[in-house]
């Protein structure tokens, strides 16, 4: 599902965020990406979501190499991907329903389908009945769950999340992570960047550890998932 081959990323300001990073995440796996701030976690996610392109090496997501994908194919590429942010990036002036519906609307889904799927997604994150509220009327934990509902509403095969529990207390964090695990259980590939070691340990999923832009440790694949190729450094 995700394949990094000797990927390096240097930003225009000269900072080298990743150096020769290689790893593979199989379809249906749930993987944590950990490391200190500045270790390169966010850069890995940006490369997966095609917010950035690799400077060297190749990133393959869903069978597509992001380095060479044409600009006009990027929207279709991103529709195969659900993204969750630490600051959830909800539109403050739109009700919850509209926020969650956005990925379906941009993909041109019929209205009846949008209605059905948005309710299903909100049901999955336990927020059914709050469709007409504005994001500011919800708690931080609820807002984060709205962000997750938006990421999963179009049933993408891959979900990536950048510090999804960064603003949440431990109980809420665990709840959110369990939510991600439920998606993983039904075959969705999940990649979560976090620095929350407790949670990673509690869930017992594979962990890729980054330090200063290089892979320090990348664990073993889920039992049940296909064995991953051991990466070169």
């Amino acid at each position: 599902m995700i394949l990094f081959e000797r990927v390096s990323k240097r930003y225009p300001n000269g900072r080298e965020a990743l150096t020769h990073v290689s790893f593979r995440i199989e379809s249906g796996e749930m993987v944590f990406l950990t490391g200190r701030s500045g270790a390169g976690k966010s850069t890995v996610l940006k490369l997966v979501a095609l917010l950035e392109r690799p400077t060297r090496g190749t990133v393959t997501v869903n069978g597509k190499s992001t380095g060479t994908l044409k600009a006009r194919h990027i929207p279709a590429f991103r529709r195969q991907l659900g993204v969750v942010f630490q600051d959830h990036k909800l539109l403050a002036d739109r009700p919850i329903f509209d926020n969650v519906a956005l990925p379906l609307v941009v993909a041109g889904a019929p209205l009846r389908e949008v209605d059905k799927r948005v309710r299903a997604a909100l049901d999955q994150v336990g927020l059914l009945g709050k469709e007409r509220m504005l994001p500011a009327e919800l708690s931080v934990g609820e807002q984060q769950r709205v962000g997750i509902a938006r990421a999963v509403v179009s049933k993408p095969p891959l979900i990536i999340a950048d510090e999804p529990t960064g603003n949440l207390d431990p109980d809420l964090s665990l709840e959110v992570m369990r939510l991600f695990r439920r998606f993983s259980d039904v075959g969705v590939t999940v990649l979560i960047a976090t620095h929350d070691q407790h949670i990673v340990r509690d869930l017992g999923k594979r962990e890729i550890v980054l330090a200063s832009g290089e892979i320090q440790e990348q664990g073993s694949a889920d039992p049940g998932a296909l064995p991953h190729v051991v990466a070169t450094r």
Binding site: L45, V83, L102
Partner: protein, 307 residues
């Protein structure tokens, strides 16, 4: 994508744009006012030219020639000359106004009836009234026609009262050109106003645009509501310009009628015709859409999602 989905998307974009314009009513009204005035000005000037032309329509086309015969020339000779003149190409009409008819007309219209009664004999000559064909009314052709009549031995004077008609038509031509210049300049103004308004809105909605692109919105999808906003500005501005024109016509109606009456005319001021309205609304829509498109093209590309 099916036609239904396509239509739904456009309807959503249109309604979204309408709602947004309504929510920022004050700003919308101000923008519409600027666009409306910019569209109304050349349209009003055009309307003025059209009215000036049709109010004077009767005589701006009335090019004719009076050929005064020498006083000894008898009426029968005059009839024969008129018949000869009718044979010449380029002449639509050649009629004889006999000395008696001329005197009668003069008596009726001049107000000198009593003074004329004091005259023992009719001092007026027989006159040929010649109307050239409209396609033979250029200055050079009229000049040649004039020399043709002047060469006859029976002819005393050829009078050609067309100078003022030509001048008047030249003034109208200048005004028509002015309308074009005003329309071009103010049209550019409308483009700039719409473009700038859309630019501000794009910057205001930056976060929304980023998220939309992040979840797979295409440039076309992101651009669509802004194009509809521009189109709505154009339509609204044109409607406002129309209102301005109609109000102006209403206000001017009475004084113009009075003025026309003083000239013995029953001319009634004409409002914008269907064609003018078509140009007004068509121009407004094209300018609004184009202004929005240019702005969106320039500014949307630079907004890419950041994590």
């Amino acid at each position: 994508m099916s036609l239904g989905v396509f239509g739904t998307r456009h309807l959503q974009a249109l309604l979204g744009s309408l709602g947004r314009l309504k929510r920022n009513a004050v700003a919308t009204v101000l923008t519409l006012l600027v666009i409306g005035l910019a569209l109304a000005l050349p349209a009003a000037l055009g309307l003025f030219v059209t009215n000036a032309q049709s109010a004077t329509g009767g005589f701006s086309q009335a090019i004719d020639m009076s050929v005064y015969l020498k006083s000894g020339v008898p009426l029968a000779k005059a009839q024969q000359l008129a018949a000869d003149a009718r044979q010449r190409p380029g002449i639509a009409q050649a009629t004889v106004i006999s000395a008696d008819e001329g005197l009668e007309q003069f008596r009726r219209y001049s107000g000198f009836g009593a003074a004329l009664d004091a005259l023992k004999s009719n001092p007026l000559p027989n006159v040929l009234h010649v109307v050239p064909r409209r396609d033979a009314s250029s200055a050079a052709q009229l000049q040649s026609l004039r020399s043709y009549f002047a060469a006859w031995p029976e002819v005393d004077v050829v009078q050609l009262d067309t100078d003022w008609v030509l001048r008047f038509n030249a003034i109208l031509a200048v005004l028509r050109r002015l309308v074009l210049i005003a329309a071009a300049l103010l049209g550019a103004g409308v483009l700039a106003v719409v473009g700038n308004t859309i630019r501000l809105e794009i910057l205001n909605r930056r976060a929304e645009i980023e998220v939309t692109k992040l979840v797979g919105g295409t440039n076309a999808f992101v651009r669509r509501p802004f194009l509809y906003t521009g189109l709505l500005y154009g339509i609204g501005g044109a409607a406002l310009a129309w209102t301005i024109l109609e109000v102006a016509v209403l206000v001017l109606d009475q004084p113009v009628a009075t003025l026309a009456q003083l000239y013995g005319s029953r001319y009634v001021l004409q409002g914008p015709s269907g064609q003018v309205l078509g140009v007004l609304f068509g121009g407004g829509m094209v300018l609004g859409w184009l202004g929005a498109w240019i702005s969106a093209h320039r500014h949307l590309r630079s907004i890419e999602p950041r994590a």
